[in-house]
Amino acid sequence: MSDVVTAPPLTLPDRLSSIDEPVKSIRTPAAVRYTYSPGQAPSEFLYKVAQKQLTGRKCPQCTKVYIPPRETCPTCGVTTLPDIIDLPDVGTVTSFCVVNVQFYGQAMEVPYVGALILIDGSDIPLMHLLQEVDVETVHMGMRVEAVWVDEGDMGPTLESIKYFRPNGEPDADWNSYKDNV
């Protein structure tokens, strides 16, 4: 009996036993967890969305109304007015994209329409889905309304709006959205 513990002989695969074979790659998986804060102004927006109400905030300098609201006007760099402005769930399509290509992780059936929607009373279009519409007929200036999820499924997320759909109103005048295209 011996007290000395001998390490087992190191056996490498042949291809690694020679230094003539360079290491071509290594894998070093890494993950870091974060708790994301959307911020005070976006938080107040998300809580109101959970109550089926869209809101915005106004810049005192350029008077633009932002949705989602921001604490600071990104154009002027000044603090927005503290008043929360209630906005309707109706707006105008300023631009759109018909998606015809399947891609990994896609939640929607093709074709579907992603649209920039200028909510009435706001100055920044919101991106959302457009459904209950023939994709061939989607166009700039189309008037649309939000279709909300069922009461029980409402939450502090824009997914509380299932999608937008045409509301049957005549097209908006070009001048009403020309600054947002």
């Binding site: 070093t28 974060y34 604490e71 002027c76």
Partner: protein
């Protein structure tokens, strides 16, 4: 060399967490305050340069989003460094030397609260041999402290002395986070946190932001009675591989201090970016600061350590002290990387 001066400084009240507040929201008031202090508006500012790290927010290009706090319209000239804001200040200073710009706003922010800062900082290490081991920032500093203790370069008592002085000095700093009157002996009676470091040897975890405005030539004199002139500035780097370094000394800080001209005159005050107590001792030695130098009258990084920001704050604190007439010539220092790997040193002077 073109004369360049710091004429205004603003910072947040530093806290463990600005939870529920976005980077834009806690930075915007600082940017508004620094412009008001300088008496300048956006149209007067030629260049905006910032320092931050997307790894803190966990979002790629989050520094672009944060520009909303400034309001970059009409389009601005802008740059960003993934380093402490002191290096953004250096970039702006170089741009001023070219004569292309006369005014610059430099800001930095570090919101560590969304993630685990000790894990996040491992991501700045060399990626093949060190990063996969996840050696965290406190553990690496502990290795450095151990080397110095065993070599007799410093003692645990001297380290506690640094902490006690920082915390006491921070009593005069309304923006500081760790403030108290504890005696070194009391601090030493506490258990080790990461042996041989106790909690007082380590920086607090901080959310914070800061901004300075820097102006070239005669314009600085027009805007303020006593500008803090940058007389010398230089930054150097030690190897990334920790094993090849003697961790008890800082050759890069020493060289940067030589190039910046620290020894060319009397130093009244030094704001050193030393996140760990033993690192202040290393820096005092590297910069050749004698006992007569008032080191970190603000409390330094041991009193508030917003990552990517604490170095720029050293510039702001020193410039304010000079502008108030409380110092004539001082040294500002910033560090980045593990165990004081990168060091930036500047000499600031009143008239």
């Amino acid at each position: 060399m073109r004369d360049v001066a710091i004429i205004a400084f603003a910072q947040t009240k530093h806290r463990r967490s600005y939870e529920g507040t976005s980077e834009v929201e806690f930075l915007a008031p600082v940017l508004q305050e620094v412009q008001a202090k300088a008496g300048l508006e956006k149209k007067d500012i030629d260049f905006v340069c910032s320092g931050s790290s997307d790894y803190l927010a966990g979002q790629a290009f989050s520094f672009v989003v944060t520009l909303d706090a400034y309001g970059p319209w009409p389009p601005i000239t802008e740059s960003h460094v993934d380093m402490d804001g002191a290096w953004a200040l250096y970039e702006a200073w170089v741009k001023m030397q070219t004569g292309k710009i006369d005014t610059a706003l430099i800001y930095a922010y570090g919101k560590s609260s969304p993630g685990s800062i000790r894990r996040v900082l491992t991501r700045q290490l060399e990626p093949y041999y060190t990063q996969p081991l996840w050696p965290d920032s406190v553990a690496l500093a502990a290795l450095q402290a151990r080397v110095g203790l065993d070599a007799g370069t410093w003692t645990e008592e001297q380290m506690a002395e640094v902490a006690a002085t920082s915390r006491r000095n921070a009593k005069g700093n309304p923006f500081a986070q760790v403030v108290d009157d504890a005696e070194p002996a009391t601090l030493l009676s506490k258990d080790y946190f990461v042996d041989p470091l106790r909690v007082h040897d380590c920086p607090p975890i901080t959310d914070g932001a800061a901004a300075v405005i820097m102006v070239a030539g005669d314009k600085a004199k027009e805007l303020t009675d006593r500008p803090a002139w940058i007389r010398g500035i230089d930054h150097r780097i030690d190897p990334a591989a920790l094993g090849v370094r003697d961790l008890t000394v800082s050759p890069s800080a020493q060289l940067a201090a030589e190039k910046a001209g620290v020894a060319d005159g009397n130093v009244d005050v030094a704001e050193l970016h030393a996140p760990f107590t033993h690192q202040e001792i290393i820096l005092r030695n590297a910069l050749g600061l004698g006992d007569g130098v008032d080191v970190n009258p603000s409390g330094g990084a041991l009193a508030a350590n917003p990552v990517m920001t604490a170095g720029l704050i050293r510039f702001g604190e020193l410039a304010d002290r000079i502008s108030r007439g409380e110092a004539d010539r001082g040294v500002a220092h910033a560090t980045s990387g593990a165990c004081l790997q990168q060091n930036l040193v500047a000499v600031l002077e009143g008239e």
